[in-house]
Structures are given as C-alpha cells and as structure tokens.
Amino acid sequence: MLRRLRRHIALFFAVIGPGFITAMVDNDAGGIFTYSQAGAKYGYLPLWTLAPITLLLVVTQEMCARMGAVTGKGLSDLIREEFGLRTTFFVMMLLVLTNLANVMANFAGVASSLELFGVSRYVTVPLAAAGVWLLVVKGTYERVEKVFLAASSVYVCYIISGFMVKPDWTQAAIYSVRPVLMLEPGYLTMLVGMVGTSVAPWMQFYLQAAVVEKGITAREYAESRLEVIVGCIAMTVIAFFIIVACAGAIHDAGPRDIRDATDAALGLKPFGQYAFLLFAIGLFNASLFAACILPLSTAYSVCEGLGFESGVNKGFREAPVFYWLFTLLIGVGGGVILIPGFPLVKMILLSQVINGALLPLVLIYMILLVNKERLMKKWKNTRFYNAVGWTSVVILIGLTVALVILSVRDLMAA
C-alpha cells in the first residue's frame, strides 16, 4: 500500500514539467499586464473570473495532454495526418505570425522591466536574446526543462509582493466567489481580455509536444493529468496575487489605468522597495521565460507539422529548418524592440486579431481529434466530457471573437 503510494508520488515527480511550464508561461508579459490593469482599475471585483478561467484552462489543456500521452504524437503531427498538408500549412503560418508578435511583446517586457533598474534596452535585449538562444541550442531537452522549472518557481515573487502590499483580504475573499457584472464598457472589455487571453494556441501545441517529448504514455496519464491541473491552479494563484497586489496598492489609492506592467511595479513603490523589486523581477522572469518558450514551441510545431527534422536533441545540421526558424523568431522578436518608434502596440493588437482567427481553428481541430476512436481508443472523450469540452470551446471562441472586435476598434483608433 505504502509502496504503491510512493510509486504514485515518484511517478508524479517524473511527469512534472509540461503542464506546469505551460500554465506558468501563460502568465507572460501580456498576461501580467492584463491582470495588473484589472486590479488597478477595478480592485477586487474581477477576482471571480479566476475560477472559471481555471476551469476553461484545465478542460482545454487536459485534452491535449491526453492526446499526447495516448497517441505519442504532437498536435501539429495529428492535424497533418488527419486534415492534410494545406490545412496544416495555413495553421502553422498563423501560429508563426501570432507567436512572433508575442515574442516581441515579451522582449519588450524584458526591456522595460530592466529599465526600471536603469539598464538600457540596447544592453539587455541582445543579452537576453543571446542567452535564450544558447540555452536551447546548446542544451538537451532534460536540461532545458530543468531551467524552465526553476524559472517557474520565481513566480513566487508575486505572492510575496502581494502580501507586502497588505491588501484587504476580506474583500479579496468575498469577491473571489461573488460574480460582479457591470454593464460598463471598460469593465466588460477587461473581462473579455482576462478570459480571452487565458488560452492561447501555442499552449495547446507546446503542452502536447512536451508531453510526447517527455515520453509520457497512457500508463502515466493519471499523474500527468494531475500535473496539468496543479499547473493550471498554480497559474491562477499567481494571477490572483497580481490582481490583489495592484488592487491593494493602486486601486485603493485611486483607481486608474496603467500604461504597462512596469507602471504597475512602480505603483507598488509606496509599499516598500522590496514589493516593487519583487514585482519587477517577476515581470523580467516571466518575459524572458516566454521569450524562450514561444520561439521553441513554434519551431517545434512547424517542423513537426510540415515534416522537417526537429528537436533540441538534434544538431544544427540535422535540423536546419528548426534552428533557423527558432533563431529568426528570437532575432526579429528581439530586434524590433531596439528600433526607435516601432509600433509595438499596433503589432500586439494585430496579433490579437490573428490569434482570434487561429484559436477557434485549433480548438475545433483539437476536439475533433480527441474524439477519433482510431487515435484515442478507450481514451476518447466521454459524452459528458464532450459537452463540457464543446461548451468551453464555444465560450472561448466567443470571447476571442469579442476580443478581436475590440482589438480592431483600438487598431482603428491608434
């Protein structure tokens, strides 16, 4: 009995990685900005959305992890095998475009978080890009994953800074479970943003590929699912503390819009040097982490789907397309941040639009695939799970389309 329990715990630690890392990277520079903005402007009110976000995240992530474990193939592999080359090519092009904009946003996060400490972006961005490139090109999958897991632990910064701000915990507790709906355009936009950005196409590809790469099979699937769930919960816990920190520090002093995530960090300054420092470090870590994962995951998915050699365990010569794509994403993504007057905000809004076109496709393909008996055998969706799955997918698609409309409006205004 004890032996069996020990085996389960050992297995859990053996499968830890994919789900956890994916969920953590979801809190990238863009995510932190969204949550900070929510807290700064509306205080504790938006906290209730976190529970449904977790649920949506778990439902969509679980299906991908299951597909990876059962079929041993990545999502782009399966799309290629079941829906053909042209579909795959189209999906991959959209993925590259939206992820490129994401990489830009995260390099911008690296630049602005370190500028808080007075270091110029002309120093930090090239260094960060080179570091990210070397880590992946010179590393093995196991080592890279360990570095990623270590980076995940830095998110604790947000929890500590949340405590240092001494927010109103009673209010935080109440509004975590009490849904507040106001028919105010700003509030609705924020809700759509929070939920709409919570599931991104790259996550589905990355998670499934990571599960496969780690060698998780149907046998260890129970542990892997638990890991995915724990990861999603950890992600929302971090989001909770970001919102609470900004609510306590900024909203309580006077609700306002913030310009970017560094603005939020500055807002924490009255609560001590450390609260500010931790928030800024958290932002830097999250941006760098995402700037690393996004190009990697993109290169993986594209090469798998189109049938080129891929993998960090292969050399530059064996997998040229993989490495070129990876290098290009980092080079371009980091490079544009150094161009004075580059319309970054426009790029990010545009990426939201592409994202909105891509996510519905990915989610629908995903749920169609997970229902194929030939692929999934006894692991395919049950009828109940399908109902939950389709509902989640429809909600996400609806919110993403809403986000697209908002982005287009902002794009026109900009």
Partner: protein, 417 residues
C-alpha cells in the same frame, strides 16, 4: 505530350474519360495490392456522379495516362468496396510517417512519384519514390489552384528530396494487416541496432511496440538495449509475457535485470516465469542487488577456469562460450571454492603452449583488482578511472567471483547522469 513521371498530387483530381471521351469522374485515390504486385498501381478510385458514387478503375482498363487526364479502354467499372489487401496511397501513406531505411530516420510522406509505363499497349503507374521536403510541399500547396504544368515549371528551382520506394518501410501496428499488405521487417532487421533504436524512439508508443513485437527476437533485444531504461520498460510492459521473456533472454543478463527492475513487481515476476531456467536464474540473481551498487552494475557473462587448469583447458572453455568471444578480454582464475585468484588477459593464452598451466602465465606484478557486490557505484567508477580498466571482476562476501562490470556498463552509467 507524353510524360514519364506523374506525382500523386497530380493524379488526384485528374479527369477520367470513358470510351466516347466523356468525363466520368475524378481520381480520388490510388490503390496498391502488394500481394499481387509490389509497385504497380492496381486500381484507381474514381469519384463520379457529382462525387456520390465511388468506382474502381482496374489498371488494365486504362488506355492512356497524361497530365490532362486518364482515358479508358474498358468502362465496365465496379463500385468501390473495402478491401483488406489494398494499400490506399492517399489514405494510408500520404501525410503519414514512414521509415527511411537508407537515411535511417522517420520521415513524413508529402507526395509520391510514379513512373508511367507502357505495358502491353496501355499505361500503368509504378510507384517510384516517396517525396519529402520543400519541392513536394510546394506541389501540395499549389495543387488544384495552379495548372499542373505551371507547378512543374515552378518546382524546378527547388532541389528534389526523395526516397526510393524499395527503401521505405511503412509502419503498420496491426500484424494481420501487415501480413495482408506484405510489409516485411527485413529492412529494419538489416539495420544497425543502434540506428533501429533511434528510429523506434521517434515513433509513437503503439508503432514502437508493434515493431519490437514483429521483428526478429535477437534484433529486438539488441535494439532494445540501446534505448533508455524507461522506454525499455514501457515496451516490455506492453508485450505479452512470453514474447517479453524471449527478448529478455537474448539480452545481456544485467540489462535484462535492469529492465525488469523498472517494472512493477507482479509484472516482472510474470515475465520471469516465462523465461528459460538458465537465463532466469542469472537474471534473478542480479535482481537481488541494488542498482547503485557494483552488484547492480555487473553481468554474469564471464569465463572462469580453475587455477590448476592448462592453457588448452582455458581455450576449451572459451570455445564453449563462443557467444562471448567478441566482447571479453579477460579470463579469470579461481580456486576450488570459486574464490577469485587472478585475472588473465585473453591474448596471453594464445601466446602460450597448450600444456602450460594457466597459473604460470600470471606475472608477479599482475595485481587483481576487484570490488565487493555491495560497494557503491561511485567506487566502481573511481576504480575504472584510476586503473584504466576494461573489465572489473565483482566478488561476494566470501571472495567468490559473482560477475564482471565492463567498460560499456560504465559508459551507460556516465551517460545517464
């Protein structure tokens, strides 16, 4: 204009004309029946009547095949029916993973190249190559949107990347279907086990297990020893106990014990039950040791002779274990109680006269270095490093020879860190 080759992408959607040159429908798939002919397209699957009726066109019903269409010489067509002996190129091969036996890797099929041959006054297609790479990707993307001849002109700038059909191995997990489609494992069995292991690693668990199950037990054992322990355990776990036992018997006992050590106890006992008594006893003995000790690292494949034996006896002992000749470099001398007395490089035996006593070949400065079974792996590594060893004997508490650790075991330990 008659072409010599045709791509599957071009064949798809090609119009089929009846005897009076009226269009009947469009090609949807090409069928190979490997049991009848290994490379000839046996039938074409044609969708007619607005796509609602699917018909088979037999290869001998075709008069001419060009880039513009297929002209029939016989229009008595049968409707489509499922056929277990048929390999449908679009459904079963296109976009799927296959094994490139020459390049020794797993590749994804983007297109297929046919040769148009004239046989007995009518055109047939023979599968020539499987296309991977950019050139084929371009064809796939433009197919149907750009005229066929334009695509041919456009693609010329891109270097081709193809694999000859004979060197491709289709991955089919179902053994029955493999038989019906005449898919042999010969290509895989001829590969170096390490290359085969790399390929197996890249496949999905289902395909992985199917290949190990289907290929020759000895090859399977060799390939399996090249995989990492976790994957070995996964594969062995999936096989039935009898087959698993057969493969483990072929593996070196220490490796077999490592694999079994990774499995759940019930399962590993079930497999041990199926093993033959001799290898089973060795493996069971090795399973007793902790994997991080000398006992856990060692194997029991060594040759020992009594110290009073002659060179002729020792060579005789070698002859009886010919399976070890390729790998061993030491013969051990033991006393009447099996206690280790000395280690003798194999080469010395061949320089001595047959009647010489082996004990005489031991030199003054031949110090025998050994470890106890319980010593930690760290200590073993130290000894290998310090004395530049190739083989290290392992003894039990009473000093009896229990096994040997060889340099390849040490390399595995170092690699896995």
């Amino acid at each position: 204009m008659a072409e010599e080759i045709l791509y599957l992408t071009e064949l798809l959607g090609l119009k089929v004309y009846d005897l009076r040159r009226r269009p009947l429908g469009r090609v949807r798939d090409a069928v190979l029946v490997p049991r009848l002919h290994p490379v000839r397209v046996d039938r074409y699957l044609v969708a007619g009547g607005g796509g609602y009726t699917w018909l088979y066109v037999r290869h001998d019903q075709v008069a001419e095949i060009t880039l513009e269409g297929i002209w029939l010489r016989d229009e008595l067509l049968v409707p489509y029916h499922a056929d277990e002996y048929a390999l449908r190129l679009v459904r079963d091969v296109l976009d799927q993973q296959i094994i490139d036996a020459q390049g020794r890797k797993v590749v994804r099929v983007t297109d297929i190249t046919f040769e148009i041959r004239r046989e007995g006054g009518h055109d047939v297609l023979h599968v020539l190559e499987v296309d991977i790479g950019m050139r084929a990707v371009l064809r796939r993307l433009l197919q149907g949107w750009v005229p066929r001849r334009w695509i041919r002109r456009l693609q010329q700038r891109i270097p081709p990347n193809s694999i000859r059909w004979e060197l491709c191995n289709i991955v089919e997990p179902d053994p029955q279907r493999r038989l019906r489609l005449n898919i042999s494992m010969d290509l895989l069995e001829q590969m170096h086990p390490a290359d085969l292991a790399d390929i197996v690693e890249e496949l999905s668990p289902e395909d992985r297990e199917a290949i190990i199950e289907a290929i020759d037990t000895e090859v399977a054992a060799e390939a399996l020893s090249e995989l990492d322990p976790e994957m070995q355990a996964q594969i062995i776990e999936s096989l039935d106990a009898g087959k698993a036992a057969d493969i483990l018997e072929e593996m070196a006992p220490d490796e077999a014990a490592d694999v079994l050590g990774e499995l759940e106890e019930e399962r590993s006992e079930e497999i041990l039950e199926e093993m033959e008594s001799a290898p089973k006893a060795e493996v069971e003995e090795l399973l007793e040791y902790d994997e991080n000790t000398a006992g856990g690292l060692m194997n029991t494949e060594f040759i020992a002779v009594h110290e009073d034996a002659t060179v002729a006896d020792a060579i005789d002992a070698l002859r009886q274990r010919q399976d070890l000749v390729d790998t061993i470099n030491m013969v051990f001398l033991t006393d009447t109680d099996d206690r280790l007395r000395a280690a003798l490089p194999v080469g010395r035996l061949f320089l001595a006269r047959p009647s010489t006593k082996v004990a005489e070949l031991v030199r003054e400065d031949d110090e025998v270095i050994s470890v106890r079974t319980g010593e930690p792996a760290e200590r073993v590594l130290e000894l290998f490093d310090k004395y530049n060893l190739l083989t290290l004997p392992v003894v039990d508490e009473e000093g009896r020879l229990a096994g040997v650790i060889t340099a390849d075991d040490i390399i595995s330990v170092l690699r896995s860190r």
